[in-house]
């Protein structure tokens, strides 16, 4: 913790722009898509992973997304996210799987 403070201070004193955490999200090769869920597969209430098939709005092709984050898994389990919902998704290809980095309903105003 102390270290973090001093690093911050060093950065701050030297930096061009203070507090430049930058855009934290865009590290790897992320692919963005919007699509409607056609299928959710999740193995029971204790599942630590699930897959959702999205029909890509641009290409009309099905894309299978692997979801590992607890918040989204929970939304599958209690049906806050269901088949038919439109999703904005960012994923990364890891070991041949499309692993979700962001999985969000596109709800408007």
């Amino acid at each position: 913790m102390k270290k973090a403070v001093s690093v911050m201070v060093l950065v701050a004193v030297a930096a061009l722009s203070i507090l430049c955490f930058g855009s934290m999200a865009s590290a790897g090769e992320e692919i963005k898509m919007v699509g409607v869920i056609t299928k959710i597969e999740i193995a029971g209430p204790d599942a630590k992973t699930a897959t959702a098939t999205l029909k890509d709005n641009k290409t009309e092709q099905p894309v299978v997304i692997t979801v590992n984050d607890d918040l989204t898994l929970d939304k599958f389990k209690d049906h806050r996210i269901v088949e038919g919902d439109e999703i904005r998704c960012k994923y990364e290809v890891i070991d041949g799987k499309n692993v979700s980095k962001l999985f969000r309903k596109t709800a408007g105003c």
């Binding site: 403070v5 911050m8 203070i18 934290m24 209690d78 049906h79 408007g108």
Partner: protein, 463 residues
């Protein structure tokens, strides 16, 4: 034992106690199991008067009297029910839950309305009273961990009325407890038109120091008789008359640091300024131009960022609010003895203004959502509100911008809290000039003289 380990022990005990409480079963379980769940009346057997009392809260009324805002009538009630601003350019009244006109492209309709984020069934709607309203309260949306959200959807009943569904299953009623983060986030996470849109409000171990400690919303928003304490966000007016702040003595007090240099700052600087250095969500919307989405419906053009991606704006704030057609935000000054430098999320929205009066108009979203016709939305809202000559108003309405400031009160960090040079370097986060400091003072406030020795010492300790 050092002070720190005492705190640690106390914290552990507190956490253990909370965990024990959470694990203990709801004493009503057996009885509910026997007779099944029939809605609030089941709870009322042991918690009499609860539902009726709930009807008098902001969560039911979406409004309350408001005393700290300019240009409003102190005798009336304001809130999501009737306010007009540009984060969402409507309200519960003009955007009452309904089936929108069919899309001319797909022939499909859908349900839409602001009052979906209300724990009633829409037949008993925002602000309704009486026995039917008391029976319609969705206790489980806040209290059950087994809620099935497929039930919480709008549908039409046999009389053609639009009803908001609820999960009233006995299964859900058997999983009663103190509200979890998820219970609250059912509505709060998508305020403003989608997840994190309004304030970048994410409450996870990665985004909030309190969430990382396992705290939940109601650990801070301690609620008695369903009166929910809140702060003084300049754009969240409605309140139950109870308030909370980071500096409450029951939480941290005004001198939470071992370092007196930090504590000294809390006279003029809000805790949030140092501890919530980032904000996020949507930063601009255009309600005069809607974009078609892949499902062929439309939504207002929206520019947005992730939860932690934008820098706040800093302003003096004394808890009172300037409210004009083109600006809703904090009032305060360096000199009034009450204001503190406070971080805000700035948002700008374009919507239609009344050509005659210059007032901001509101919009029914049903028409623009269906076919992009925004003036038809203005017309429908003007009619609902009983404005004179609604056709003329809609036809002549002039697009214009409004800037609004949102309080930034979550996304708390300790490790990334602002430290001396974040503010006192010449390119620091605060614009001392805009904040009312003289050139002479600024020279002093931006000199390493203020922190050289201290930061040097800290640097040395760490290497």
């Amino acid at each position: 034992m050092s002070k720190k380990s005492v705190t640690a022990v106390v914290l552990c005990l507190a956490l253990a106690a909370t965990a024990a409480l959470a694990a203990s079963e709801h004493p009503g379980k057996e009885s509910i199991e026997k007779s099944g769940y029939k809605g609030p009346e089941t709870c009322e057997e042991c918690h009499p008067g609860t539902a009726k009392a709930f009807l008098d809260t902001v969560h039911w009324k979406h409004a309350s009297k408001v005393t700290n805002v300019d240009n409003i009538n102190p005798k009336l009630e304001y809130g999501m029910k009737n306010r007009i601003y540009v984060m969402c350019n409507g309200n519960d009244i003009v955007n009452n839950l309904k089936e929108i006109p069919k899309s001319p492209v797909t022939g499909k309709s859908k349900f839409s309305g602001c009052n979906t984020c209300h724990p009633g069934n829409h037949l008993s709607d925002v602000g309704s009273t009486g026995p039917a309203a008391a029976a319609a309260v969705d206790c489980l949306v806040c209290h059950s961990t087994e809620y099935d959200f497929r039930q919480r959807k709008a549908f039409k009943n046999e009389k053609g009325e639009v009803v908001m569904g609820q999960d009233r299953s006995t299964k859900a009623a058997l999983a009663i407890g103190k509200p979890t983060v998820k219970n609250c986030m059912v509505c709060h996470e998508a305020a403003g038109g989608g997840v994190i849109v309004k304030r970048g409000f994410s409450f996870t171990k990665d985004t909030d120091a309190h969430a990382a400690k396992g705290m939940v919303c109601v650990d801070c928003h301690k609620t008695k008789n369903h009166k929910m304490p809140t702060g003084h966000d300049p754009n969240n007016w409605a309140n139950d008359g109870v308030f909370l702040s980071c500096a409450d003595t029951s939480c941290h007090g005004v001198k939470p640091h071992k370092d007196a240099d930090l504590n000294r700052h809390s006279a003029k600087i809000a805790c949030q300024t140092c501890h919530i250095p980032r904000t996020g969500g949507a930063f601009a919307k255009d309600f005069t131009v809607w974009e078609q989405t892949p499902d062929k419906f439309y939504e207002p053009t929206t520019l947005k960022k992730e939860a932690n991606e934008t820098t706040p704006a800093y302003a003096w704030y004394n808890g009172t609010v300037k409210n004009t057609p083109h600006f809703i935000g904090p009032k305060g000054s360096r000199k009034d003895g009450k204001s503190k430098i406070t971080p805000f999320k700035i948002f700008q929205g374009r919507a239609y203004y009344n050509k005659q009066t210059g007032e901001l108009l509101s919009m029914d979203f049903a028409q623009p959502m269906s076919n992009g016709d925004t003036r038809a939305g203005v017309l429908s809202a003007a009619k609902t509100l009983g404005l004179k000559n609604p056709e003329k108003i809609a036809k002549e309405a002039v697009p214009g911008w409004q800037t609004i400031y949102f309080g930034s009160n979550h996304l708390v960090t300790k490790t990334k809290a602002l430290y001396c040079a974040n503010c006192h370097a010449p390119n620091g986060v605060l614009n001392f000039k805009d904040l009312g400091y003289s050139d002479k003072e600024i020279v002093k406030l931006t000199s390493p003289e203020l922190y050289m020795e201290k930061v040097a010492k800290k640097q040395k300790e760490e290497w």
